[in-house]
């Protein structure tokens, strides 16, 4: 486990490295700077950002009720707070809030409660298509090697894999296919060009 933060029991586990795969770039690894706060123990409020990781992804549900607080706004503007969407968040019900958030969020993420739950694929697709979010979208939660390709194609460009996943194998996934037969966030279907 990679989480050394004091709040780790209240965090979503993630590998200590993040796999970045920018739209027109190459896959690479960077240390994971973000604590993914599950928000399940709301009483204490936002986790302490002085003694563990300095940046935190908060649940969108929590953001809804806390974003107007001055220190939250300040920390967000300072690049310390990003948000994550749960698989069952209906983002289309919060168009205004998301459009506002787009101006300040340094990072958004979408959560996979279990690898075979594909709702966050649609969330990422909607964030790209409908909300025209151009910043980073990170896949978090039960993120496994064999989801990376699909994630990359719907709009994710960073992946906080589950801690046990082998990053060497993960890094090689994006080279598996040189053609596609439907459009994706990254490219148009190859079959359009013949």
């Amino acid at each position: 486990m990679s989480l050394t933060n004091a709040n780790s029991s209240n965090a979503i586990a993630a590998h200590e490295h993040v796999l970045h795969f920018p739209k027109d770039g190459k896959p690479s690894l960077t240390p994971n700077e973000w604590l993914i706060w599950s928000g399940s123990q709301d009483e204490g409020g936002l986790p302490d950002l002085e003694h563990g990781k300095a940046k935190v992804l908060v649940p969108f549900k929590w953001w809804i009720s806390h974003h107007e607080e001055a220190d939250i706004q300040a920390k967000t503007k300072g690049g310390q707070i990003g948000i994550w969407f749960a698989a069952d968040d209906d983002i289309l019900k919060h168009v205004e809030l998301i459009n506002e958030g787009k101006k300040v969020w340094p990072l958004v993420a979408a959560h996979f409660p279990i690898f075979r739950d594909g709702r966050s694929f649609s969330t990422a697709a909607l964030l790209r298509d409908r909300f025209a979010w151009t910043g980073e979208i990170r896949a978090i939660g039960d993120v496994l090697i064999d989801q990376l390709l699909q994630g990359a194609r719907v709009g994710f460009d960073s992946f906080a894999l589950r801690p046990d996943q082998n990053l060497d194998v993960a890094l090689k996934q994006f080279d598996l296919y040189s053609v596609t037969t439907q459009n994706s966030w990254r490219d148009k279907r190859a079959s359009l060009s013949i």
Partner: protein, 571 residues
């Protein structure tokens, strides 16, 4: 027939490499079984009672002799010398190993075949009319649309982990041979008054535990807009389909819970945002794909009457040959040609839909010799040679007889659709193959079967309904009661344009009672039918009562069955 371009071929080759790597990780233990499972299912690999089972896609049922030879070769080299053609126009191998599977897929890739999305919670292999492009009653050849949607759905990233499996069927003929309404999405192709190709979309059909017929949710969608509309539809399902309960996760439950109108409204709302995007098909794509579905080099021939065709046979063959013509030959669009159904339901066979290596090789030769090297797999688990010259039917019949695929029972009581059941399937509650066999043995008299006329009999070994028992005129469902195998009968189901879900008639029976029960039900029909009335028509006129009464006439174990079934929900 569609021929892969370099994109299709590259994709399939790369898929083989990807799966090879996934299998290697499974075998070295770095991939846990639970996590491998959805990956292998998306490649048609099940783990069954005795071994792995591989389901290979035959997109919209169309294949060629070269592919059939490869299927035969795979049966021989990696399995036990036979393959099983399924109701969804796939072929299954029941005895493969995990280690061999990447090699099998590599062999399939060489003949433009694969097992992508034949299982798993994704868009499954698309099915269509087995007589597409040749059927006498066709108003639109559905195959270009089938192929465009096959490409669109293949490895679709957003819909790789849906709440449940997702099945499309596409029809373009007057008679629905696809059971459109039993699919998650049924696409009915038509021409509008200006001659443009449009589609009506039905959603929310399916069998299983809760059989529901699909509802019309969109009319007159221009064909080009299918990808954006279906993206919207699948997106609504992906986001809001139930994931908490496996049995309630199919789109039919969502459509029912919301009402078809509300579901359609939500899809429309989503679609508005993407309908003008570049997901939509272009004319160039159509042209590229459609050129593969032009007509083969038909000769210009005279249309022959049945009498003329029969006159080609030797005297001693005439009666049997005429029967075959009556049941197994379908009308063709082109004069002088006919479509031939090869029955994979010889009486006493091991399993409806099975073909041995030798049969597959011989049938491949017949396809080359008589039908431009092409074949089709039907929903009823038979094979079709679609383009046979009428003047060669007698010759073909003689050849087909040698392979035991000329039984004239198409559409008759013994043309049974059956799932693999307890002999192979680990989900089964009961066996289905021995039931099918026992019924074929009981009704082995062809004269009698002919006299009974069209009756569909479908058997499933469990509530998953692979054998589509709900839409058989007579359906048999295997149920488990305290560890014993029982069989529940449904009556009045129908596929096609008047699709209907059959009614459960009451307490279940023991396996050894089923042939008698069938005899009783059939006798009730024979006694009460009006002139020329098919089984289902008599049933629809009289209702279930007389048939139900007949079924239980001498049910020796009825009381026992009664007491056992009480309080349980078998469906």
């Amino acid at each position: 027939m569609y021929k892969y371009d370099h994109i299709d071929q590259t994709l399939v080759n790369q898929r083989v490499a990807q799966f090879r790597d996934q299998v290697a990780r499974r075998l070295d233990g770095s991939l846990a079984e639970e996590e491998f499972r959805p990956l292998r299912l998306q490649n048609g690999l099940y783990h069954q009672r005795h071994a792995y089972m591989l389901r290979v896609a035959i997109p919209y049922g169309l294949f060629n002799s070269k592919q059939l030879r490869t299927m035969a070769h795979i049966a021989e080299k990696y399995d036990r010398g036979y393959g099983h053609f399924t109701t969804r126009q796939n072929i299954q191998y029941n005895w493969v190993t995990l280690e061999d599977t990447p090699d099998i897929l590599a062999e399939l890739a060489k003949v433009e075949m694969h097992a992508i999305q034949t299982s798993g919670n994704c868009i499954r292999n698309i099915t269509s009319d087995a007589f597409a492009g040749v059927a006498g009653d066709e108003y639109v050849d559905p195959r270009p649309v089938c192929e465009l949607l096959r490409q669109w759905s293949t490895l679709h990233p957003e819909f790789a982990h849906l709440p449940r499996k997702f099945k499309f069927a596409i029809n373009g003929a007057k008679e629905d041979r696809t059971i459109l309404l039993c699919h998650d999405v049924g696409i009915e192709l038509k021409k509008n008054t200006s001659g443009e190709l449009i589609a009506d979309i039905y959603a929310g059909g399916g069998m299983g535990r809760t059989p529901i017929l699909g509802s019309l949710i969109k009319q007159a969608l221009p064909w080009q807009l299918l990808p954006s509309y279906l993206t919207a539809l699948l997106r609504v399902y992906n986001r809001f389909g139930r994931r908490d309960n496996l049995y309630k996760a199919r789109i039919k439950i969502l459509v029912k819970a919301l009402s078809p109108e509300e579901f359609a409204r939500q899809v429309e709302g989503e679609w508005l945002h993407i309908k003008d995007g570049d997901d939509n098909f272009t004319q160039a794509e159509w042209d590229r794909v459609a050129k593969h579905f032009t007509k083969p080099a038909y000769k210009s021939l005279q249309k022959l009457t049945n009498e003329q065709v029969i006159s080609l046979a030797k005297d001693e063959d005439k009666a049997a040959f005429a029967r075959w013509l009556e049941r197994n030959i379908k009308p063709h669009q082109v004069p002088g040609y006919a479509s031939v159904v090869l029955s994979l339901k010889p009486h006493g066979s091991v399993a409806p839909g099975d073909a041995t290596t030798a049969q597959m090789l011989a049938i491949a030769d017949l396809a080359d010799q008589y039908s431009f090297g092409e074949l089709r797999a039907t929903h009823e688990q038979n094979l079709v040679l679609a383009d046979v010259e009428q003047s060669k039917l007698y010759e073909l019949w003689q050849e087909a007889k040698k392979q035991k695929v000329a039984l004239p029972n198409v559409g008759l009581l013994t043309d049974i659709i059956a799932c693999p059941g307890g002999d192979f399937c680990s989900l089964a509650n009961a066996k289905s193959l021995p039931i099918a066999k026992a019924i074929q043995e009981r009704f082995d008299d062809l004269d009698y079967l002919f006299d009974l006329g069209d009756i569909s009999l479908n058997i499933s070994g469990c509530i998953n309904s692979c054998g589509h028992h709900h839409v058989g005129n007579i359906g048999v469902l295997g149920v488990d009661k305290d560890g014993e195998e029982w069989y529940q009968i449904t009556l009045g189901g129908e596929q096609g344009n008047d699709a209907a879900i059959g009614k459960v008639i009451g307490p279940s029976f023991y396996a050894d009672e089923i042939p008698d029960v069938m005899t009783n039900i059939i006798n009730a029909y024979v006694e009460q039918r009006a002139d020329g009335e098919a089984f289902i028509q008599t049933y629809n006129r009289l209702g279930v009562a007389p048939f139900k009464e007949a079924a239980y006439k001498n049910a020796k174990k009825k009381e026992k069955a009664d007491s056992k079934v009480t309080g349980e929900d078998a469906s």
